[in-house]
């Protein structure tokens, strides 16, 4: 039989391709959006784009359904029913912006701290932060506090950068890739591409994660660790490496503070601090001349061990001696930690052996001469081809900061930071702690109708930089940078509603949120948060949090709890910039940034949030937003992206600057800049010269390049801080030895958690609850096909995950007589949920888990009220409280890391009880109306049928 010739093989795909940047998650892949008859025909990865090189994940391809979702908000809304009802009326933008301006100008004149402005998964923090600073409230942050601030803060404080947006494994050269606590997310496509490369190259991929899904499923070796014990595993590996002498001594001496001398003077204010010269330069002991000299002295051969006496009689020791003594202790031996971590001693030893052999026996040499910051010439780059990546599984614990520090220390010990085959920084990182601002928000930093005197967020160098009053009380609504969480570099968004409701440290007037589902999956204690948002003062009858403004593109659960809704566009209808001033998309070899632009025009009365912020800034007459005559400076966000300058010649975008568009990094404003980006596929990339590509922390050519690019005005080399003086300063405050003194209430906690050398302690919840009452862990993992709650209303993606079972390890099922499809109560110290289970074997035997953020509230996201997401889907959040169980000290302790305030989502402990079979998960919530009225829900979709042939 002959083949039939009737297939049309060469139909044009579309009328036009518009290249922009995806926003279906935070990866920021380049996409080619095919437009046909004014509709989106097809979205594919941009082959030229440096992030995804043509590939695209399920979320990205499902952008069509996101863009046309019935859950899109259509017009500004003003609440008419009680909070949570979902009853609103549509209003005009003029009316909406008028209301917002009235509320905000009153606060700004009266007491600017009564505005709490918190943005969620915001990719425009350089604008929103600037806006908040010009407004003058101390209460601003994005979502990092409930995401991964431990990873970011520990990385910056240790090596001057961290994973993901700060750096990446050298995928092409690495021989051993070890990943901690990453399910199938950040950063999704680059990780998948990288893992494929590692495997193709015959290198080894080890995944440390309690659950063996996603990336862990294809790992060569999976270490199903007990949650919250990664730090102990890492320190046991460090123990083995020290014992076997498998450390890179030359690297440590050159690039870390290992030789810096630590003062040994117990009971004094300087104990444990670095010995410094008159200029404040740390000192080292020079072994040839046997003298104490400032670090970086030419030709010096510093000691890494020993005990010395300074001229003034003080005793000192190189910090490395303290480090080696600490980790050589047998309490870090594999046998000693096996029970706690759930990892067999032989596995730990195997991991250490694999690291040791790969780092030293498979060392790489790249024949590329380079010059270090001391002017010394090197023949080439020595590579230790062991690389790491880690995310929330490490960081979302109350010991996450120290655990992340431990991981970075391990990388430095084997000489694997920014070398061939190791972890490599991505510009503008590395960036030393000193190049980051200190936080601003103390009473003297703000006042009526004036800007905050400096950036909100930064890194305290010691207790003197805390944002506390004379009595040591917190100054910010989230208590960031207080004794509760001194180095909370990203704020504590998860505490804002609870604190504002409690009026602790003070009540607020306006809560302004962007893109964060705080009335549902982004909050701990969801039911409690909902009650707080609904709670009224019985005397005044007013809501305790009086005014809530919210901006989102979709009818999320949180929309129903706001009073005024400023509807955002979809990601395909907006301008955005992925900026070097913010969270760029650089690669280790290249400086990169990107834009979004409206590839389709909105068909609703919605506006891009950033343009709205510029409009509000102008209406409020904020400096930087209006000129001397009070006229707005910027027409919209596109105009701001092009014309805003943070410093002369430095703007949101680094590419195509200068009047001819030929300048990179620094350069005059180019009115055609956005057009140039669009022509270039909506991104810009500038390669780092070969002699500057590695050892960036100490590479003279890189440092000069960074200055030329405008990252810094002077070179900012980084010395890796294995021993943290900042942490020691807090300890001295806790010991009452160095002013300002920590309050009595906080002293023990700081002593226990601010070890200047990376440390491990048991997570707070596990340490505080009786083990036999709550014998298991409960955690969530992100599915690859969905990102938080974004996407779970997507008609295509929801067919992949329509509900989330509770996965229960086989041994727990056997112990409790449970089988697939049974219903259980899962009970924590805070609450209980009733859910359906599925049995699973490939998981740590004490870890129960589920997928993150699939459960929906009835009526939200324009789904029918009887959908599986709302009936059987559930949130683990109900079991997690934003406060720790009362300790009897009368204080409210946040369920967060004591150093950074990172939300300790994964500290949760539970017990399980078999329940009667059910139809609906519990707790249940009443259905909410669709904001702005019921949408048309098609009974059937035949997307693209008009193009069928």
């Amino acid at each position: 039989m002959k083949s039939k010739p009737r297939v049309e093989l060469s139909r044009p795909v579309s009328d036009e391709v518009r290249k922009t940047t995806c926003y279906m998650c935070a990866c920021r892949c380049g996409i080619d959006v095919h437009i046909k008859d004014g509709k989106i025909r097809y979205i594919e990865g941009n082959r030229d784009h440096p992030v995804n090189k043509g590939v695209l994940c399920a979320k990205g391809s499902a952008g069509i359904m996101q863009h046309y979702s019935p859950a899109r908000l259509r017009a500004p809304l003003l609440r008419t029913g009680p909070r949570g009802s979902g009853e609103f009326k549509e209003i005009s933008w003029e009316e909406a912006l008028g209301i917002a301006t009235d509320w905000l100008s009153e606060v700004r004149a009266d007491d600017p701290k009564k505005l709490a402005f918190f943005t969620g998964r915001d990719q425009s923090q350089s604008l929103t932060g600037f806006w908040a600073q010009q407004f003058g409230t101390p209460n601003y942050a994005a979502h990092g506090g409930f995401c991964s601030v431990n990873m970011a803060a520990a990385g910056i404080m240790t090596i001057g950068g961290a994973f993901w947006e700060f750096g990446a494994p050298d995928w092409d050269r690495t021989r051993l890739f070890i990943m901690f606590g990453v399910a199938e997310d950040h950063d999704s496509n680059p990780l998948k591409m990288g893992i494929a490369k590692v495997k193709k190259n015959g290198a080894r991929f080890v995944s440390v994660n309690p659950v063996r899904t996603g990336y862990s499923a294809v790992a060569d070796n999976w270490i199903g660790i007990r949650p919250g014990t990664d730090g102990l595993l890492i320190l046991a590996v460090v123990h083995e490496l020290l014992k076997a002498r498998k450390i890179d001594v030359d690297y440590l001496m050159r690039y870390s503070n290992a030789p810096w001398l630590v003062i040994d003077a117990p009971g004094t204010a300087e104990h444990g601090l670095f010995a410094r010269d008159a200029d404040g330069k740390p000192m080292v002991f020079e072994t040839v001349t046997e003298r104490v000299v400032p670090k970086g002295t030419a030709g010096a051969r510093p000691a890494l061990s020993g005990r010395y006496t300074l001229e003034d009689g003080r005793n000192v020791t190189p910090s490395f001696a303290l480090l080696a003594e600490k980790y050589l202790d047998e309490k870090y031996a594999p046998e000693a930690v096996a029970a706690e971590t759930g990892v067999a001693a032989e596995t730990i030893r195997g991991l250490a052996a694999e690291i040791a052999r790969t780092a030293f026996d498979e060392a790489i040499f790249i024949d590329q001469p380079w010059t270090d910051i001391n002017g010394e010439r090197h023949d080439g780059y020595v590579g230790r081809p062991v690389s790491f990546h880690a995310m929330r599984g490490l960081s979302a614990h109350s010991n996450g900061f120290q655990t992340a520090r431990a991981l970075h220390m391990l990388q430095v010990l084997i000489g694997a930071v920014d070398c061939p085959g190791g972890f490599r920084f991505e510009p503008p990182y590395p960036k030393p702690l000193e190049a980051h601002p200190t936080p601003h928000g103390r009473a003297e930093h703000f006042g009526s109708n004036k800007p905050l005197s400096g950036p909100h967020l930064g890194f305290p160098r010691g207790p003197e930089d805390l944002l506390v009053d004379a009595e040591g009380r917190p100054q910010r609504i989230d208590k960031a940078f207080s004794w509760d969480a001194p180095i909370s570099a990203h704020g504590l968004m998860h505490m804002v509603i609870a604190n504002a409701h409690a009026g602790d440290p003070y009540p607020i007037d306006v809560l302004f949120l962007y893109m964060a589902n705080m009335a549902w999956n982004s909050s701990m204690n969801t039911a409690g948060v909902i009650r707080m948002l609904e709670d009224k003062d019985p005397v005044t009858g007013e809501y305790r949090i009086p005014k809530i403004i919210y901006s989102d593109a979709y009818a999320s659960e949180t929309v129903a709890y706001a009073d005024l809704i400023l509807p955002d566009t979809t990601y395909l209808e907006r301008h955005d910039c992925i900026s070097m001033l913010d969270r760029p998309i650089s690669e280790p070899d290249a400086v990169q940034d990107a834009i979004r632009w409206p590839v389709v025009e909105p068909d609703r009365d919605v506006r891009g949030f950033q343009s709205v912020m510029l409009d509000l800034g102008a209406r409020l007459k904020l400096p930087g937003f209006v000129d001397q005559r009070g006229n707005s400076i910027y027409k919209d966000y596109a105009d701001y992206i092009v014309r805003h300058e943070r410093r002369p010649g430095i703007g949101p975008l680094a590419g195509f600057r200068g009047t001819k568009g030929d300048r990179t990094g620094r350069g005059a404003i180019n009115p055609d800049q956005l057009q140039r980006y669009i022509e270039n596929g909506s991104f810009f990339s500038a390669h780092i010269p070969l002699e500057a590509q590695f050892f960036k922390h100490a590479n003279k050519d890189y440092q000069d390049f960074a200055v030329r690019m405008g990252f810094f005005d002077t070179p900012q080399p980084v010395t890796f801080q294995l021993y943290s003086e900042t942490l020691q300063k807090f300890r001295l405050s806790a010991d009452g030895l160095r002013e300002p003194f920590a309050p009595e209430t906080h002293r023990q906690r700081i002593r226990d958690s601010f070890d200047p050398l990376p440390d491990w302690y048991r997570p707070f919840e596990e340490a505080s609850v009786e083990g036999d009452k709550f014998p298991y862990h409960a955690i969530t993992q992100r599915p690859a096909a969905m990102y938080h709650s974004w996407g779970s209303m997507n008609a295509w993606l929801r067919q992949i995950h329509t509900k989330n079972p509770l996965y229960v390890p086989g041994p727990i099922c056997d112990e409790h007589g449970l089988k697939d499809g049974d219903w259980v109560h899962l009970i924590s110290t805070h609450g209980r949920i009733k859910v359906e289970i599925a049995r699973m074997e490939a998981v740590n035997s004490s870890t129960i888990w589920t997928w993150n953020a699939i459960g929906k509230r009835k009526g939200a996201w324009s789904l029918d009220t009887d959908v599986p997401e709302a009936r059987k889907g559930f949130l683990m959040n109900h079991l997690i409280h934003e406060l720790l169980p009362p300790k009897g000290d009368g204080l409210r302790w946040s369920n967060s890391d004591p150093v950074t305030g990172q939300a300790a989502w994964y500290d949760l402990r539970v017990r399980i009880e078999k329940a009667e079979a059910g139809e609906t998960s519990e707790p249940r919530f009443p259905a909410m109306a669709e904001p702005g009225g019921k949408r048309e829900h098609p009974e059937q979709l035949r997307y693209g049928q008009e193009w069928a042939k």
């Binding site: 039989m1 893992i195 999976w222 890494l304 699973m840 959908v867 059937q940 693209g944």
Partner: protein, 255 residues
């Protein structure tokens, strides 16, 4: 009944799917859906898309299941248990039972490249082919009433209006883990054939006698962590910090 080509097709275009790197992300599933819903034949419809009984037509799905293989590596306390992500679409079989069972001739295998297609104008939606396919690779579109299946993106792979590099199935182009490969499996020197030979690619359910063109690459053998690296941990000296510092001094002198 419908006949298969009397002589073997000159080419056997198909997919090679690497189970060693598939992480089950569903990128291929959705990319396939978005390409094909606006491409060859009727749209891939979704029923009750925002309701309780949501379902839709997909030409490619990923099945994830847990296995406890014999002889696998033992790492971690859960022993050998592992998750396998298994993408599945039409395998374009040489002896395609879905073709021979078709009462109208709608289901056919192309002589030039071996792709199995459905001529939707001739399809009466009887569903026999779906019953005949041992892999469950065909899905009836409830809105159109015709049988849908993987076309190997026949409207991409020969499409002269797109760049040559993009003339591959949508699922292959999008796969972030590089787990999907496309080529001519009749040519022993093609990249896909060499890959199948090198990695021991397998037929899915060979006992069915369908002779599928698509192949699956099994997971690469795993090596126990630390096996062969034991030497790396042999210390120069093991007596605690004192011995360590003595060693350190020696190293510093040699630098």
């Amino acid at each position: 009944m419908t006949s298969l080509p009397a002589t073997a097709p000159a080419k056997k275009l198909g997919l090679v799917i690497d189970l060693d790197v598939c992480v089950g992300c569903h990128a291929c599933v959705i990319s396939c859906k978005e390409w094909n819903t606006g491409g060859y034949g009727a749209a891939l419809s979704d029923q009750d898309p925002y309701g309780a009984e949501v379902s839709g037509t997909f030409l490619n799905r990923v099945h994830s299941f847990e296995v406890i293989p014999e002889g696998g590596e033992i790492v971690g306390e859960a022993g050998e248990a592992r998750i396998v992500h298994f993408p599945k679409s039409c395998l374009h079989c040489d002896d395609a039972p879905c073709v021979t069972v078709c009462p109208t001739g709608a289901s056919y295998k192309r002589t030039e490249d071996g792709i199995v297609l459905v001529d939707e104008d001739m399809c009466i939606g009887c569903g026999l082919c779906a019953w005949a396919c041992p892999y469950g690779a065909r899905e009836m579109d409830l809105a159109a009433g015709v049988m849908k299946k993987c076309t190997l993106c026949v409207d991409r792979i020969y499409n002269e209006t797109i760049q040559e590099i993009d003339r591959v199935p949508s699922c292959v182009r999008t796969c972030p883990a590089n787990a999907r490969h496309y080529g001519d499996l009749a040519d022993p020197q093609s990249e896909v054939s060499l890959m199948v030979a090198a990695r021991g690619g397998i037929d899915l359910m060979p006992e069915q006698g369908t002779r599928p063109v698509n192949k699956y690459l099994p997971p690469r053998p795993r090596q126990v962590l630390g096996a062969g690296s034991e030497q790396a941990l042999l210390a120069e000296n093991t007596d605690g910090a004192t011995g360590f510092f003595a060693w350190l001094d020696g190293v510093l002198e040699r630098i």
